[in-house]
């Protein structure tokens, strides 16, 4: 009888440990339940955070309110940065701007741009990529959960820029402990 009770207690303990191992943090629910309108609004909310200048208008809080449903988008943004369409639009803008600057330089020689067009485009493109990745990491930290943690941990294995990696490490430290 006593051994039966002991076995029952041991069984309960094993069950608890197993459950804890399986889901120490809540996983992201599938986002497939979003209506097209909800999905579009969620996308706009995420873009507003990824691109804001000072971000003083509640952009991060809005993404955080989206909760785990935003995690897959943020995780892939952390890995890859902006989508190809945004990169191409930005590249075209930088090329246009550089050429305007060189025209301006002809009339105002004291305003000399020292970078080549290629350097100019590469420099600001790299900043845009880092911006998206840093913002994604910070949002993952505030949303939290197992999937967010995994995305941040996996990002540390990627060849990211040093400042992006530093943000990822910082974000991991800020994740609430479970």
């Amino acid at each position: 009888m006593r051994s039966l009770a002991t076995m029952a207690v041991l069984g309960m303990c094993l069950l608890v440990v197993r459950c804890a191992q399986q889901s120490p943090e809540p996983a992201s629910p599938p986002a497939t339940a979003l209506s097209p309108e909800q999905a579009a609004n969620a996308r706009r909310t995420i873009v507003a955070w990824l691109e804001c200048e000072e971000c003083t208008e509640g952009q991060l809080e809005a993404v955080t309110r989206l909760g785990p449903v935003a995690v897959p988008t943020l995780a892939v943004t952390l890995r890859q940065g902006p989508p190809p369409a945004n990169r191409e639009l930005h590249r075209a803008h930088l090329v246009d701007t550089y050429r305007q600057l060189k025209d301006y330089e002809k009339q105002h020689p004291q305003n000399k741009v020292t970078m080549s067009e290629d350097e100019y485009v590469r420099f600001y493109t790299a900043n845009q990529t880092a911006l998206y990745q840093i913002r994604a990491a910070r949002a993952l930290a505030t949303i939290g959960g197992a999937d967010a943690r995994r995305a941040l941990q996996e990002a540390l294995q990627l060849p990211l820029r040093d400042d992006v990696k530093a943000t990822v490490r910082d974000s991991l430290q800020k994740l609430p402990a479970f």
Binding site: P30, A31, T32, L34, P36, A39, A40, N41, R43, R44, I46, V47, A48, L50, E51, C52, E53, E54, C55, T56, E57, L66, V69, P72, T73, V76, T77, G81, P82, P83, P84, A85, N86, R87, E88, L89, H90, A92, H93, L94, D96, T97, L101, Y104, E105, H108, Q110, N111, K112, V113, T114, M115, Y120, Y124, N127, Q128, A130, L131, I134, D163
Partner: protein
């Protein structure tokens, strides 16, 4: 005379387009849409030149398209083109592989006119199989509005037939409008939107009037076509911010003595400072008056750059040149100069201030350096996750590692009294004061006015500009404050 004016208008080569954004052009559009909104001045439209519209990238706005989306794939484009004096929207695609273009299915009023250009007629058109999943370089569409030449000519003739009394008896707006949109969808889910809404306006075009006319004559001008905002009295009553262009003169028709009307002239131009003449007492009831305006060099705002983060000199230089070129091209009449550069990376305090927000502004000022009565810009590595800050007290911070090429221009706008425009109805998404975005290339005439005239602009606070000042918050439109969205193109 009428014929001469029409020919003059049509000979304004290049981009003879003149956009304003009056309140009449306001219309609610979908949230988050990238859009163009404004009013085209009919007198300056060349019906043979399609109207250029900002580029539209092909593909999703976030990398997996949306929360819950299956990821990038072929897209559906739903296009709507409607309105007056427009025949079609022409889309010229770059980076679109020929085989993918051929696979696009068209339902509605559109056809390919060559391998990369699609002509989309009025009405609703649905394109399916748009390649939103190109791995290397995404395709990008350059839209143009193809005008209905006969309709444009009819509107132009109607405008000029109103001479010689000059147009003031006619409504400035209401000639017509054009509405177009491109919604990119993955299945049923919108993944990127573009909206455009413009109205055809009758604007005042000066410069070739007869002797019996009042005039603005600009002295010491360049070849730029200046923008002249006129407050005064016409035979129809008071006018506020009536737009004219001067190169270097502008015939105004008959501006009457002011009586109880506000009477002033504002002139904005490239390579010259904004001129604000108030009150103007030149005008009499006779059409024989001339107001001379002495145009002066661009107002220079001295700036000290503090390079706290290492290897930021080339970037800071780029950004200053961009700000100078941008505020000049937009006719704001403002520049940064002289520029003093201090390499502060070896400052013993620099290491602790590499990630600084406005909370650290006093430390930056005290420990890195600060020049009184001028703008001080600190290039740090990071700025608390923001791209930049304008902290007041002549202190601007730029996060060198994530700033874009317009971050300094944006923060300078704050220092010159401007706020964000994301929620300002009628403001294009490309405005430099949008928080965010990566393709900011415009600032309105109403914003340029505030940068110069507002007493809380750094130009006035630092004594770079002399002359009368105003208190025109972004949201205030009055006889003293032009609408923030008032805009005139080309600059």
């Amino acid at each position: 005379m009428v014929r001469h004016r029409i020919i003059s208008a049509l000979l304004l080569a290049g981009c003879p387009l003149f956009l304003t954004s009056p309140a009449s052009a306001q219309r609610q559009i979908g949230p988050g849409a990238i859009y163009l909104r404004g009013s085209l001045c009919i007198e300056l439209v060349d019906p043979f030149n399609p109207v250029k519209i900002p580029r539209v990238p092909v593909g999703c706005e976030v990398i997996d398209c949306c929360p819950g989306c299956p990821g990038p794939g072929p897209l559906v484009w739903e296009l709507q083109v409607s309105g007056d004096a427009v025949e079609a929207l022409m889309l010229r695609f770059e980076n679109l592989p020929a085989d993918r273009a051929q696979a696009i299915s068209i339902r509605g009023n559109a056809k390919w006119i060559d391998r990369s250009t699609l002509r989309v007629g009025k009405g609703k058109t649905v394109l399916t199989g748009i390649p939103g999943d190109l791995k290397e370089r995404a395709a990008i569409a350059e839209p143009r509005l193809v005008l209905d030449k006969a309709a444009i000519s009819r509107m132009q003739l109607a405008t000029y037939d109103a001479l010689p009394t000059r147009p003031m008896s006619l409504s400035k707006s209401g000639l017509g409008e054009v509405d177009f949109s491109i919604e990119q969808r993955l299945g049923q889910i919108p993944v990127r939107e573009f909206r455009g809404f413009v109205t055809w306006e009758k604007c005042e075009l000066g410069g070739s009037g007869g002797a019996s006319e009042d005039w603005i004559r600009l002295q010491n001008m360049t070849t730029d076509r200046a923008t002249v905002l006129l407050d005064g009295r016409r035979n129809t009553g008071c006018v506020d911010d009536e737009v004219n262009r001067a190169q270097p003169d502008s015939g105004l028709g008959n501006v009457l003595s002011a009586a109880s009307c506000n009477s002033e002239v504002v002139v904005l131009s490239q390579n010259r400072a904004m001129q604000l003449l108030t009150p103007v007492t030149t005008w009499t009831d006779q059409p024989t008056d001339t107001q001379f305006v002495n145009m002066t060099p661009v107002i220079q705002a001295p700036v000290t750059l503090w390079l706290v983060a290492p290897q930021t000199q080339a970037q800071a230089n780029n950004d200053v040149v961009r700000a100078n070129q941008f505020y000049n091209a937009m006719q704001c009449g403002i520049g940064l100069g002289p520029v003093t550069v201090n390499n502060a990376a070896n400052n013993p305090n620099a290491q602790n201030l590499l990630n600084s927000t406005c909370a650290n502004a006093a430390n930056l000022n005290n420990q890195i350096g600060f020049t009184q009565n001028q703008l001080n810009v600190y290039y740090v590595n990071a700025a608390g996750g923001s791209r930049g800050w304008s902290c007041g007290n002549n202190t601007i911070i730029v996060a060198a590692s994530i700033a874009d090429n317009e971050t300094l221009s944006h923060e300078l706008g704050h220092a010159l009294s401007l706020g964000h425009t994301n929620n300002v109805v009628g403001m294009p998404a490309t405005n430099v004061m949008v928080t965010g975005g990566t393709n900011r290339n415009s600032i309105t005439t109403g914003q340029c006015f505030r940068c110069n005239a507002n007493s809380n602009s750094a130009l006035n606070a630092n004594g770079n500009r002399t002359g009368s000042t105003r208190a025109c918050p972004d949201a205030t439109t009055s006889a003293a404050c032009p609408s923030l969205i008032l805009d005139v193109l080309p600059k």
